[in-house]
């Protein structure tokens, strides 16, 4: 599969102050883009604009050449995780993963969820409500989603927050596999990851 995300002339502001303007980039299958910049520079806003949550002041986001916002094909291909990745405290790790995949209309074969939770080290805790997991373990629920979800485009905001070294290694391998199977990613991160980014985008400098 080949896919291409094109962003042209994107501009966004918060209240009366401009965050960034004229941001353009392109990411194709097998590449990932690192979004870097100091706190408050608009990394999160950029990701939200790309995902279609926040309306940009100007500019366009194209998925395979077609306008992304509101396009069903784009939404089926997008996996977005913000600072708050949408994990319900009252549901167990397994229920959280199943619920998220059902929402994305992904059919999961029997045992796949359990295997994925085993891969991220949550097999024994998979029936605990998420409120009883640590911050890092909650992040690992998100990693289990990354394992199972076939989305071609990842837009992840600080994906390594609260993860330990082993968790970081796991994320790196997931990213490698994602890129190798034709996926693409935009990550807002301060860290240097093993598969080097195809491009870096500095904003708010």
């Amino acid at each position: 599969m080949t896919a291409r995300l094109t962003v042209a002339g994107l501009a966004a502001s918060r209240g009366p102050s401009t965050l960034f303007r004229d941001v353009s980039f392109e990411v194709a299958s097998g590449e990932w883009l690192a979004v870097r910049g100091p706190n408050g520079s608009g990394k999160t806003t950029l990701l939200r604009c790309v995902a279609g949550l926040t309306r940009a002041d100007r500019g366009e986001v194209l998925w395979d050449g077609a306008a992304a916002r509101g396009d069903a094909r784009f939404h089926a291909s997008l996996l977005y995780a913000g600072h708050q990745p949408g994990i319900k405290d009252d549901l167990s790790a397994e229920e959280n993963v199943r619920s998220a995949l059902a929402l994305r209309a992904v059919a999961v074969p029997d045992g796949a969820v359990r295997a994925a939770l085993a891969d991220v080290g949550l097999e024994r805790r998979r029936h605990l409500p998420a409120r009883r997991l640590s911050a890092g373990q909650r992040r690992r629920i998100g990693l289990a989603r990354l394992i199972l979800d076939p989305a071609a485009l990842w837009a992840l905001d600080e994906p390594l927050t609260a993860l330990d070294d082993e968790g970081e290694g796991l994320f790196t391998r997931l990213l490698e596999r994602h890129l190798a199977t034709g996926g693409l990613a935009i990550l807002a991160t301060h860290d240097d990851l093993a598969p080097a980014p195809a491009r870096e985008l500095r904003i708010g400098a």
Partner: protein, 238 residues
């Protein structure tokens, strides 16, 4: 540790209204059942406030019979109002609302599912309980029936209107009071016709005209409000 090698196939379809509806309904009902306390609080508030009136205005049976339908309606309306913030606030705070709105599922579907689940956990118990409270007010059998029918038709409208208002106030300052200022005036027509149905029945007239207006209102609200709620959620996430 071995990360699964084979990837799952990409979703073939973008979901459907019914799939989105049942997903949201099942999820919110599961959460409501995990936390029965919230529904219990709504019901307890309803019973408690309705019990305060006879103590406050005096317990003569004639007086209670006359004010009963109106009092029960006002209490149901306030209880339903108090349960409104729960509909979107926690999903907004933990990022679930973002995930839902970015999913390939059609937004009106899961919004309608959430509203239906909210009604099942607030309006439905209130409706089922209202005949019992009516007995406290010494209401006649046919009046009880009219009251319950009016609540059954009216409380879904409250949930629909309330969903729009609570979605509008997501992330706003002064959330609770602001929500009251937005939602309660919009509840007034429902209150007028809902209480009117039981009162008409009690005074020997037919409740049917009021009930048909409530039913028509429910149909219009069910058609028109979910898109408005969708717009409000999009604005909230922007």
């Amino acid at each position: 540790m071995n990360v699964i090698a084979a990837r799952l196939p990409a979703p073939d379809s973008g979901g459907s209204f019914s799939a989105a509806f049942s997903w949201a309904f099942a999820r919110d009902m599961r959460l409501a059942i995990r936390h029965p306390g919230e529904t219990m609080l709504v019901v307890a508030f309803f019973v408690l406030v309705a019990s305060l009136f006879p103590l406050g205005v005096g317990a003569e049976p004639q007086l209670l019979q006359r004010i009963g339908p109106g009092v029960i309606w006002v209490c149901a309306l306030l209880s339903a109002f108090l349960s409104l913030p729960a509909m979107f606030a926690s999903d907004y705070a933990d990022g679930s609302l973002e995930q839902m709105s970015l999913s390939p599922q059609p937004m009106p579907g899961w919004v309608a599912g959430k509203i239906a689940a909210h009604w099942s956990a607030s309006g439905l118990p209130l409706t089922l309980l209202s005949p019992l409270l009516g007995l406290q007010y010494d209401l006649a059998g046919d009046t009880l029936l009219a009251l319950a029918a009016a609540l059954a038709l009216g409380t879904p409208v409250l949930s629909l209107l309330g969903a729009a208002c609570t979605a509008l106030t997501l992330g706003a300052r002064g959330g609770g009071m602001l929500l009251a200022l937005l939602a309660l005036p919009l509840f007034i027509p429902v209150l007028v016709f809902g209480a009117g149905a039981a009162e008409a029945q009690a005074s020997g007239l037919s409740a049917a005209p009021h009930l048909s207006i409530l039913g028509a209102g429910l149909i219009v609200a069910a058609m028109a409000l979910p898109p408005a709620v969708c717009a409000a959620v999009r604005i909230a996430l922007d």
